[in-house]
């Protein structure tokens, strides 16, 4: 990873209003570090989020941003990216936003391989609505909406991404911010859809998956010679005993992006093309209906 020089470029004038100790602080600083390290210009970065604690991130990030609807950030971001592929588009949000209400969009974006980076701050709980269970809440966890413990199997986002066609799949931990920044930079550089699932503890509502809980369990795949080109190996790496939580890059493959395959892009970024039709094309269109 290149040396980090210009974090302040991506600092916003708005200070985050997350709870003290929230995992999302680490994610924000890692994203700032990653963008700075890649030498990106804030005017060329668009951060798109949905709704939730973590979805407030674009407001605290010094680039163009969109703070959209609950669950719809990925769809909005796809539109933005397809309209202007000169932009670096990063989607940020939470597990409820991405794996609950927005799961459909998430899966389709993965199989489309549009060049986006999707960072999910996965705290395994609904924070902004004060502590209900989420699609990634561990079986048996007591929450406000599951007072007797959750009786549903949680989604494993990495496994889901592997079978949905994502071409870059990684996991981070906001307690390991430097490593997270490296993974994010790699994800942004990757051509195609990148998922970075980040364990980002909710210090207020999730009393199970805490910083100490993760610190005892996380280990870096890249420190264990994991082969990122091996899809089946990645699938095996996902499923670990309860006492082991792998982070790092699970899978990475280069495949043609949506933008490379759609013939419309040979005319340049849609948002920058000349608007309007020349007289010759207009005449041909009229004639084609006669």
């Amino acid at each position: 990873m290149p040396e980090i020089l210009e974090i302040p470029k991506f600092k916003s004038r708005i200070a985050p209003d997350w709870c003290p100790g929230c995992g999302d602080f680490g994610v924000l600083s890692s994203l700032q570090k990653a963008c700075a390290a890649l030498g990106l210009d804030p005017k060329d970065v668009l951060v798109v989020s949905g709704i939730g604690c973590s979805s407030n991130l674009p407001g605290f990030f010094g680039s163009y941003g969109m703070h959209t609807l609950h669950g719809r950030a990925v769809a909005v971001a796809e539109g933005a990216r397809l309209a202007n592929p000169d932009l670096t588009v990063v989607v940020t949000g939470g597990d409820g936003d991405g794996y609950g209400i927005g799961l459909g969009h998430c899966i389709h974006a993965m199989r489309r391989n549009i060049n986006l980076t999707y960072i999910v701050m996965n705290n395994q709980i609904y924070g902004l609505t004060t502590g209900q269970c989420s699609p990634t809440t561990i079986f048996g966890t007591q929450t406000k909406s599951t007072p007797d413990g959750s009786i549903e199997t949680p989604i494993n986002p990495i496994e889901l991404a592997l079978v949905s066609g994502a071409t870059f799949i990684a996991r981070g931990f906001s307690g390991a911010a430097d490593r997270l920044a490296e993974v994010m930079a790699e994800a942004i550089q990757h051509k195609g859809f990148s998922l970075v699932d980040v364990f980002s503890p909710c210090v207020t509502y999730n009393k199970v998956n805490t910083y100490p809980w993760f610190r005892e369990r996380v280990y870096d795949l890249q420190a264990e010679n994991h082969k990122t080109s091996d899809w089946e190996g990645a699938l095996k790496a996902v499923r670990q005993p309860d006492n082991r939580v792998p982070i790092g890059v699970f899978y990475k493959v280069q495949q043609p992006t949506y933008e490379e395959l759609d013939p419309a892009f040979k005319f340049g970024p849609p948002a920058k093309q000349k608007t309007g039709l020349n007289a010759e094309d207009a005449k041909a269109l009229v004639e084609s209906f006669k």
Partner: protein, 595 residues
């Protein structure tokens, strides 16, 4: 076989072709309609179909005339029946002097089943068709050939279109189909007498297309560069045409996982600076509404087409209705600026779509186009579309580094704040769905800032006042001192135009007010017209009189005479004519509330 033909006065001629889905009705009808259109005639074709791919009953009616045709009419002069079911359903609708064309080897018509004066044009279609190929659809081609003789229509024109249709499949297929048509023509010539219609073939080639194609063309003309959609009848035609042609004009055409994605993608693209559009029908529109509000809140331009069909719920998937006006008015939570435009004709669908992009860009808000199945899916011959009339106005966009601080949501007298596109230097901002400050900072959770909230709401809503000053005012078509004024919106204007001509010929003084901009509502202008009218008759394709209610809401004027329809079929001219006569005959002018 006796074939009595009386000479029919030159007028519009209607041909109805009926059978089961999968019988190839659409292709035979299109061949006929295209052939007529190319000879310089005007054609209006409506497909009455159902949501099955094979079987059931569908019928398509083509009305042909030397002058502009505004609707497919009530009765038909010729019925081409591809099965017995069609005979039973439609035989009563054949005009005396006309006749029924059918395969007499397959269909037996009962004695006395044909109304008086209706000719029996039974043809041994199977035997004729078998000489040219095995496809049962070839029988349609035989019928088409017979029809061209019976209606005194030049066979060459039909043969040309058939040849054009099958050219890609090779000479043998072309020859077989043209041959089958010729054989049908010759059989009719030997066995029946034709009607000496006096067609005026100007040979002027005009465009022949659907409303959906016109909407798609309007989008291309306006420089739409992003179209996202989820398939839904009757809007899919827009997706199909754009998927085929859009990329040639640099347009990204994206079929999405659902309408929620389609709408949100269009908003994302619009905010990024590409002119963007999505299209759906009522059910899909319902799913889009939250993101329509998003576009309004972040002030992103976007065009949303709703091709209405019969509702509620899945409703009548293949039938027409105009019952989504309230849905469009109430789409999404909260108060927000928006435009709702209802084009009336295929031509208007083209110009309205192009205009919608300008309104979206200038006022930075969603623009909803309300079409319906009739307008979107019927084929019509139109006078050519003038692309040079399409002017492009992208609204106020900041380019380059601005002097001083940039505020994306700057309070302005017009309510319009110059927008910046991501990628522009020095204008970084957050497009937030939460309420925000002028500089795009979220204020939604700031308890002590009701003042900014109020100002921001007023800024957004002021855009509608600004728009009202520049939208073209509604105009009455026809004499100012008419005894009866028709009021319509959207495709109902078609049948009213047809009936207007008829009433004028009968000596009645009638005129027509069509409301094209449903929102913002031009209350003053509409009110003035309604108050000066002697009698009013409002015609709309829904149960509850949604336009009538909107007019009452916005002007205080209630219109007691109305003709509404909600059976899924478009208005036929006869009943509208009858309603107009009734209204004209009323001794007293109904009192208008609010006068």
């Amino acid at each position: 076989m006796t074939s009595q033909t009386k000479s029919l006065a030159p007028r519009k001629v209607s041909i109805r072709i009926g059978g089961a889905a999968g019988d190839g009705i659409a292709s035979v009808t299109e061949t006929l309609a295209k052939a007529c259109s190319r000879k310089g005639l005007y054609v209006f074709a409506y497909n009455s179909y159902q949501s099955v791919i094979r079987g059931g009953h569908i019928n398509m009616q083509v009305r042909i005339g030397s002058k502009k045709v505004w609707c497919s009419g009530d009765m038909c002069d010729y019925l081409v029946a591809l099965n017995l079911d069609t005979v039973n359903r439609h035989v009563k609708d054949i005009t005396p002097g006309g006749g029924i064309i059918y395969n007499k080897e397959k269909i037996k018509i009962a004695d006395g089943q044909l109304p008086a004066g209706v000719n029996d044009f039974g043809i041994p279609s199977t035997a004729i068709a078998n000489k040219f190929g095995k496809s049962p659809i070839m029988q349609n081609t035989v019928a088409l050939g017979a029809l061209s003789f019976l209606a005194n229509f030049p066979f060459d024109a039909v043969a040309d279109v058939i040849a054009g249709t099958f050219r890609k499949k090779g000479d043998a297929v072309v020859q077989a189909n043209v041959g089958a048509a010729q054989a049908g023509h010759d059989y009719a010539k030997e066995n029946f007498k034709k009607t000496e219609f006096t067609w005026k073939f100007t040979e002027e080639k005009r465009m022949f297309l659907t409303g959906n194609q016109a909407i798609a063309l309007g989008a291309v003309a306006a420089g739409c560069k992003f179209f996202s959609a989820y398939p839904m009848t009757p809007a899919s035609g827009i997706l199909h045409w754009l998927a085929l042609k859009g990329p040639k004009y640099g347009m990204v055409v994206k079929q999405c996982e659902d309408e929620i994605a389609a709408m949100n993608m269009a908003v994302g693209a619009g905010n990024a600076g590409a002119r963007s559009m999505t299209a759906t029908s009522g059910g899909g529109f319902a799913l889009m509404t939250e993101a329509i509000g998003l576009a309004a809140m972040i002030e992103a331009p976007v065009v949303v087409v709703n091709c209405q069909r019969g509702g509620p719920s899945t409703g009548l998937p293949t039938k027409t209705e105009q019952a989504d006006l309230f849905q469009a008015l109430g789409a999404s939570q909260g108060d927000y600026p928006k435009f709702i435009i209802a084009p009336t004709t295929v031509e208007d669908a083209f110009y309205a779509t192009a205009e919608a992009f300008n309104l979206a860009d200038i006022y930075q808000c969603p623009v909803i186009i309300l079409s319906d199945l009739l307008l979107s899916e019927h084929h019509e011959t139109i006078d050519n579309l003038d692309f040079s009339k399409v002017k492009i106005d992208r609204g106020e966009i900041v380019t380059g580094r601005p002097k001083g601080e940039y505020k994306r949501y700057l309070f302005t007298p017009s309510g319009i704040s110059p927008r910046a596109l991501p990628g522009n230097p020095g204008t970084v901002f957050i497009a937030g769905s939460d309420e925000h400050d002028e500089d795009s900072t979220l204020i939604s959770d700031v308890f002590t800032n009701p003042k900014i909230r109020k100002l921001m709401m007023e800024k957004r809503m002021r855009k509608m006042e600004t728009a009202l000053k520049s939208l073209p005012e509604p105009k009455v078509e026809g004499p100012a001192d008419a005894d009866l004024t028709f009021v319509t919106w959207g495709s109902s204007a078609y049948v009213v135009r047809d009936v207007l001509h008829r009433l004028e010929k009968e000596g009645a003084k009638v005129n027509h007010l069509n409301i094209r901009y449903l929102w913002p509502f031009q209350s003053q202008a509409v009110s003035k017209i309604l108050k000066s009218a002697k009698k009013l008759l409002i015609v709309e394709n829904n149960f509850s009189g949604q336009l009538e209610r909107l007019i009452r809401q916005e002007t205080g004027i209630s219109i007691p005479n109305h003709y509404r329809k909600y059976d899924g079929e478009p208005f036929g001219p006869d009943l509208v004519h009858e309603k107009a006569k009734e209204a004209l005959a009323l001794a007293k002018v109904p009192e208008l509330v609010g006068r």
